[in-house]
């Protein structure tokens, strides 16, 4: 069983692939190769003096305590964001599945936040919770709670996790709703007749049947938390206070574009690339095996 012969001309498949290949080459392989090259050099910001240093940039980056700190920050941030965004979305989706009246309106409203750009989402949360001007920050402080994410690293972390998760809930909600709709009613009804309560029905029937979608969302949400949240962190905390919210991606930006250390920044992005490749490989190799595709 081969696909050979389905195309009338031998060149046609390559021609059809060409646009996608061109895009990948220009937007991925080219910059990635540049980063790899840059990571072996040490040069001044203007590129006037440049020197080959081998793996010195990598050695320096990996021995920096602040790099290990940002690795830790990234893990905490990504896990918390992915888990809370998915858990809340699942809860809302099962709720939405039950209501009869106004279901469409409810779903539409739930999907809206996804259309908000990360930087804007960050600004919204900043305006609400920034201690110098935020409405909610003012209310929190007036209850006597010492709300100060500008100095308290844990509070800053909670703030960016909330903003990042809030934005992603809509997307997850959409998929969970679709997943719930595809579960045959008969299965659930049969379980109900057998005397299974609502909670039991959810954990033994609904949740396992949602596994493929949950797995898909886990991949998407992890990637999101890793890469698409830069705008939120940039707008809300700028990596501070101290280095409490400096994720790996934010550190690449900060070292490269604020501190102008291109070699170190490039080395970090190469490491990041390796981490992502490894993470994806692990997810597809091991986690996927446990997923039941029904």
């Amino acid at each position: 069983m081969t696909a050979r012969g389905t195309f009338p001309h031998r060149l046609l498949p390559y021609l059809l692939l060409a646009p996608q290949l061109a895009i990948t080459l220009v937007f991925f392989y080219w910059p990635a190769a540049q980063a790899l090259y840059q990571s072996l050099l040490r040069e001044d910001p203007f590129g006037l003096k440049s020197r080959f240093v081998g793996l010195a940039n990598f050695r320096r980056v990996l021995s920096e305590p602040s790099y290990l700190n940002s690795l830790e920050v990234t893990v905490i941030f990504s896990v918390a964001t992915a888990v809370s965004a998915m858990a809340i979305a699942l809860l809302l989706a099962t709720m939405a599945d039950k209501i009869v009246k106004g279901r469409g309106l409810y779903r539409t409203l739930m999907i809206w936040p996804y259309a908000v750009a990360p930087a804007i989402a960050g600004m919204l949360w900043l305006f609400l919770f920034n201690p110098t001007m935020g409405t909610f920050a003012y209310m929190l402080r007036s209850t006597g709670y010492n709300w100060d994410p500008l100095l308290n690293g844990n509070q800053a972390m909670v703030l960016i996790i909330a903003a990042a998760a809030w934005k992603q809930i809509s997307y997850n909600f959409l998929f969970f709703v679709a997943g719930l709709q595809s579960i045959p009613r008969t299965l659930i009804e049969a379980a109900a007749i057998d005397g299974a309560g609502e909670t039991k029905r959810f954990w033994t029937i609904v949740f396992p049947l949602l596994a493929p979608i949950t797995f898909f969302l886990l991949v998407i949400n992890t990637t999101y938390a890793f890469f698409d949240t830069f705008g939120i962190i940039h707008a809300v905390t700028g990596g501070g206070p101290g280095k409490a919210t400096e994720t790996l991606v934010y550190k690449v930006y900060n070292d490269g574009f604020v501190n102008l250390q291109l070699g170190s920044s490039a080395a970090q992005s190469v490491i990041l690339m390796i981490i992502v490749i490894a993470l994806t490989a692990v997810q597809f190799r091991y986690v996927e095996k446990r997923v039941h595709y029904g």
Binding site: R42, D44, P45, F46, G47, L48, K49, R51, R60, P131, T132, M133, D148, L150, L151, N152, G153, G238, G240, P241, G242, K243, N254, F257, V258, N259, L260, Q261
Partner: protein
């Protein structure tokens, strides 16, 4: 011909330039980082310059924040697509100076096209900051500011303080701040923008203390930070203590704290003189005082060092274009323009003539406190500690300082620990940036 052109330009705006192609207008691009009211000034100045003559046309392009503009310039240089003029903030000065061959000294530019460059026409404190060790002025000081003290007169009266006399020394400021909080006149006594620029860099110059070796980097790029000495530690421990008592409120790393003052939450603020526009606009009953100092320190108050930004010229353009840049800088140096800029924005005048003219016009009598940022900077002959601070990776060093301050204000470490850490980490970063 020239009269007709001018009249037409005035009535038809920039349409005239497309109407007279034979004149072959030379385009000059100007990348800047000015927003709001300051952006309007940029637009107006360019328009006025373009209308005042017909040979050159300056096109201002907004490139984002200060660091973003600097990055855009660096990227443009690497791609051989540089603008003629780029506005670089004070901390970027060291970065630009280290890029010899990428920039053309402004002293050279100003003497092109029949112009003449007379250094004595410009304010010495500002010229010194933007010059090489040998005295060559490298960039054109466009917007210079100096940190001052703002206070809310209504809050002062409510707290039973003398609203006509702002506190002059740091102990007085801390006392007043505590009184404001204790009396309930405001939720917070004192806040400050830019803890690095005001609390460390200007603090060292104003109190005549060493910030780093080799004249704070002006004599050589290979330096060691030294700001973990007693007066610095004492000052920051005072602030940390006030933060603990909730008398001092932290706003953020740059100018966010201004908001705390404008909203009436804090009674006293140390901020750039360039922030005056917003303070005036907010309509609060404010007063201005000079930057506080410690009276027991020898030589204090000395002089402050300028902040703000300057205009740099990229190398590699034609002489004809440089003549245009020169004409534009000469235009900006005119006393009337400088006077207007100074009076409207709170930024300092760049030339002596503009300063003298503003003085003679009685502006300072009518607006008490407005001369403070200038007298602070020019009051005394600068010492080795107060000429300025230059580090090749100043933005990174400030980042490190901010991180340590935040940990200190959160109560995680003492001022001594914060400053020791900042010095140690800063020195490592400087050596890395120097390529060692």
């Amino acid at each position: 011909m020239s009269l007709r052109t001018t009249t037409a330009a005035l009535s038809a705006g920039f349409l005239i330039f497309s109407a007279v192609p034979s004149l072959a207008v030379t385009d000059i691009s100007w990348w800047h980082a000015m927003t709001g009211a300051n952006n309007e000034v940029v637009e107006t100045l360019s328009k006025e310059f373009n209308e005042s003559q017909s040979e050159y046309k300056v096109t201002p392009v907004f490139k984002g924040t200060y660091p973003e503009t600097l990055n855009a310039g660096i990227a443009a240089f690497r791609a051989n697509q540089t603008p003629h003029i780029i506005q670089v903030f004070d901390v970027g000065t060291g970065v630009m100076m280290a890029a010899e061959g990428a920039v053309k000294p402004v002293a050279e530019i100003l003497s092109m096209g029949g112009g003449e460059f007379d250094k004595s026409k410009y304010l010495p404190g500002i010229v010194a900051y933007y010059s090489k060790p040998d005295g060559t002025m490298l960039s054109f000081p466009y917007n210079s500011s100096s940190p001052i003290l703002y206070y809310n007169k209504d809050i002062f009266e409510k707290a039973g303080l003398d609203a006509a006399n702002p506190p002059k020394t740091w102990p007085e400021v801390f006392d007043a701040a505590r009184k404001i909080k204790e009396s309930g006149a405001a939720a917070c006594g004192y806040t400050s923008t830019w803890l690095t620029w005001i609390g460390l860099e200007n603090f060292s110059a104003w109190n005549n203390l060493q910030y780093a070796t080799n004249e704070n980097g002006l004599a050589s790029t290979d330096i060691e930070l030294t700001f973990n000495t007693e007066p610095f530690v004492r000052h920051f421990q005072n602030i940390a203590d006030l933060a603990k008592e909730e008398v001092f409120r932290y706003g953020g790393r740059t100018s966010e704290a201004k908001q705390l003052f404008l909203s009436g939450e804090c009674g006293i603020l140390t901020e750039s003189s360039g922030g005056l526009g917003d303070v005036v606009k907010s309509g609060i009953n404010y007063g201005i005082g000079q930057l506080p100092y410690y009276p027991d320190l020898e030589g204090a108050p000395q002089n402050t060092i300028p902040g703000g930004a300057s205009l740099w010229v990229f190398a590699g353009h034609d002489d004809a274009e440089y003549e245009g840049v020169s004409a534009f800088f000469q235009f900006l140096s005119q006393p009337e323009i400088q006077q207007r800029l100074h009076q409207a924005s709170g930024y300092l005048p760049v030339t002596m003539e503009a300063y003298e003219a503003t003085k003679a016009s009685g502006f300072y009598e009518k607006n008490p406190g407005r001369e403070t940022p200038i007298t602070q900077m020019m009051g005394k002959e600068p010492t080795a500690n107060s000429k300025g601070i230059r580090i090749v990776n100043m933005p990174q060093v400030r980042d490190i300082e901010n991180e340590e301050f935040e940990k200190m204000l959160a109560g995680e470490q003492t001022a001594q620990q914060a400053l020791d850490n900042a010095v140690e980490r800063g020195n490592v970063a400087i050596q890395q940036a120097l390529g060692n």
